[in-house]
Amino acid sequence: MYLSTVSRPAADPPGPGPRRRRFALVSGNVVALGTVSLITDVSAEMVAAVLPLYLVLGLQLSPVAFGVLDGVHTGATALLRVVGGFAADRFRRRKLIAGIGYTLSAVAKLGLLLAGRSIPAIGAVIAVDRLGKGVRSAPRDALITLSTPPEALGRAFGVHRAMDSVGAFLGPLAAFAVLLVVGQSYDAVFVTSFCVAALAVVVLVLFVRERPDGGPTEGPSEPTVSVREAFGLLRSKPARRLVLAAAMLGLATIGDGFVYLLLQRREDLGLRWFPLLAVGTSLAYLLLAAPLGVLADRIGRLPVVIGGYTALGVTYLLLAGPVDGWPLIALTLALYGAFYAATDGVLIALAGPVLPARLRTTGIALVQTGQALAYLVSSVLFGLAWQAWGPENAIRAAAVAVAGVLVGTLLLLASPSRLINRKVPR
């Protein structure tokens, strides 16, 4: 069930050459990218932690007005993510495009200072930040796949995502530390957040390599990637199946907001504990990302992804099931975190080898965009199901949808003979 068997290994970059450091868990480039993500997430989560305080108490604005532009932003980000991915492939500048993404988000932190009380300006700044995030993720993930031998991709993504989550954990602490010193001066948090983000860009510029381990991954004689070729990516069967599967899997996710809301309603959890639900999930994600990545390298990525979505289905069933109290909360958050750990990086690890190296960023961008757009659709559908059938039945329907999506994914990505043989790669 190992997906690289359907790819064309000849199109893949050569391995990282002579491995000087056999003991290294992941390549230096992955560590560098993980460090950049860690620092950037500290910066992003610093702002995330204080933005509600800033908008509501600092500026006395009604943040409900922000929801209006949400759909437009998501659509624009999706498009630009693919355009950015294509540009990264065409000019063979994945590092540059990722760097632009990180820089945009850093500048957005300063933008918050300049936006003042203007709602459109704040909306624009948030859009720029989101754009930066959208633009950078595909080239970053492409660099990880190009810096890692195919058999170690799961581990590489696991380590990267775990580092990323550590940053997300530290961010709010850093923000509150700043606020302890400055009181209500939220701009001090924004300036600090900008400085942290700028440091991440410095680390990216100095330590992340476009062509890992010195080996030229693409010869200069190779023709540049054309728009036509990029569109042709979807004509190749494995890539098309992959994007389709990713979009289908996206349809199975109803979103964190709904999961936490249902949990809170079920348990009549004090509303003030609500934010801790996200913390619990992140903790499970942080702890499980690397082990599940390693597991994916051992037993194959598809089984781990399937396992992750099974965990998601069980999470949904638990929300409408017989278990109550703290066991329910602990089990739900652990499984939900496991779902993220088993799918977020592993899916890209699964996708990487299927996509030709010269179009890998475009391909990863397509996979991520497919997922994001499908998620948008599924959250709307779930809202409608809730409206029509009530929350309990809506979540049961979501669990059924997960089962259906899993069958569809297996049909798309695993050939029946391999399923029977249960062949372990390598």
Partner: protein, 327 residues
């Protein structure tokens, strides 16, 4: 690409970290200013909620009162820190900081003593007391779980100070929308105002990107929609009109017009206030509305305007917010 030694790279990163760290630390040091000590109660008299010709408001985060006849004149300031305050018939409600990042709803007696406190989720937004002083309501903003998601929602609770019965969130109530039973996860409520029977109330319900005026029944735990695009209702003392904020072109991004709805005819009259008002207005008497407006730097002022659409807005209490007549 020019080859730079790892040692040189680490040197550059360390230098950048020191430089950026100094910038951040410098800015933080500059922004850090000692919090002003709570002002002592001035004059002989302390702030009380005894009904009388005074206005209650928040001055620099502290509860204060001014004489209705001379609202810009001398101010009595208490040591009680609140982000929102309201009072009626000797009962007060205050949304105050509990810790540095959490808030509580506090019920106050006539001498501004705390009689009850409930921890509330999120950030203070609205607070109201029924005319009899029995019912208390509050709204908070919750969310922003993720910087890039617009996950803001509101939570509105109600407390019966006589029985102690608490509704933690109006979202538990059954909804009738345009005459039909309705449920949806995106339902949010804000801005409650109570009627004289201390059971019925008006509030804003938001769902599917639209905002409705609802009439609620606490005993029956139901709400029904009455009209679209009516937010933050505030019932007049005689119970016949609702002051509210009306989103311009039904789009909150364009701001709100302070208006009055006649509950008998359902006719809407815009007040003479043309600046966008993002507040739940308070009735100073049967014909005058008070509300908070913010200057460009965010500093608040309390203004008033006639409720019948005549006249012009008047600055009432400079540098104050959250006005409430002491009735």
């Amino acid at each position: 690409m020019t080859a730079i030694s790892t040692r040189a790279k680490i040197g550059v990163v360390v230098a950048s970290a020191v430089l950026l760290g100094s910038v951040a630390a410098g800015y933080v040091a500059m922004a850090a200013e000692p919090a002003p000590p709570p002002p002592p109660a001035t004059g002989d008299q302390a702030v009380t909620l005894t009904p009388g010709p005074r206005l209650l408001a928040i001055t620099d985060r502290y509860v204060s009162t001014v004489a209705t006849a001379d609202p810009a004149g001398s101010r009595t300031v208490s040591g009680l820190e609140c982000l929102r305050v309201y009072a009626a018939a000797g009962t007060g409600v205050c949304l105050k900081p509990e810790t540095a990042w959490s808030y509580q709803m506090v019920v106050l007696d006539v001498a501004l003593r705390q009689t009850r406190a409930i921890s509330v989720p999120g950030l203070p937004n609205r607070a109201r007391v029924s005319a009899s002083g029995r019912m208390v309501s509050w709204t908070t903003f919750v969310g922003g779980d993720s910087y890039t998601s617009s996950g803001f929602s509101t939570r509105t609770g109600i407390l019966d100070t006589t029985t102690g019965v608490t509704v933690a969130s109006l979202e538990e109530f059954a909804v009738t929308l345009n005459g039909r039973s309705y449920r949806h996860p995106d339902v949010n409520y804000w801005g409650v105002t109570f009627t004289a029977d201390d059971n019925r109330f008006y509030a804003t319900l938001s769902t599917g990107g639209r905002r409705y005026l609802v009439r609620g029944d606490l005993a029956a735990r139901t709400v029904e929609t009455l009209k679209e695009n009516v937010e933050c209702p505030s019932l007049s003392p005689d119970g016949t009109r609702l002051a509210f904020k009306e989103a311009i072109d039904a789009d909150p991004a364009k701001g709100w017009r302070l208006s009055v709805l006649d509950l008998t005819t359902m006719r809407v009259t815009a007040t003479a206030e043309t600046t966008s008002v993002d507040d739940q207005a308070a009735w100073l008497d049967g014909s005058t509305l008070a509300y908070t407006l913010r200057q460009s730097d965010g500093r608040p002022d309390v203004w008033s305007v006639p409720a019948d659409g005549s006249g012009t807005p008047r600055l009432v209490i400079p540098g104050a917010e959250s006005p409430s007549p002491l009735t």
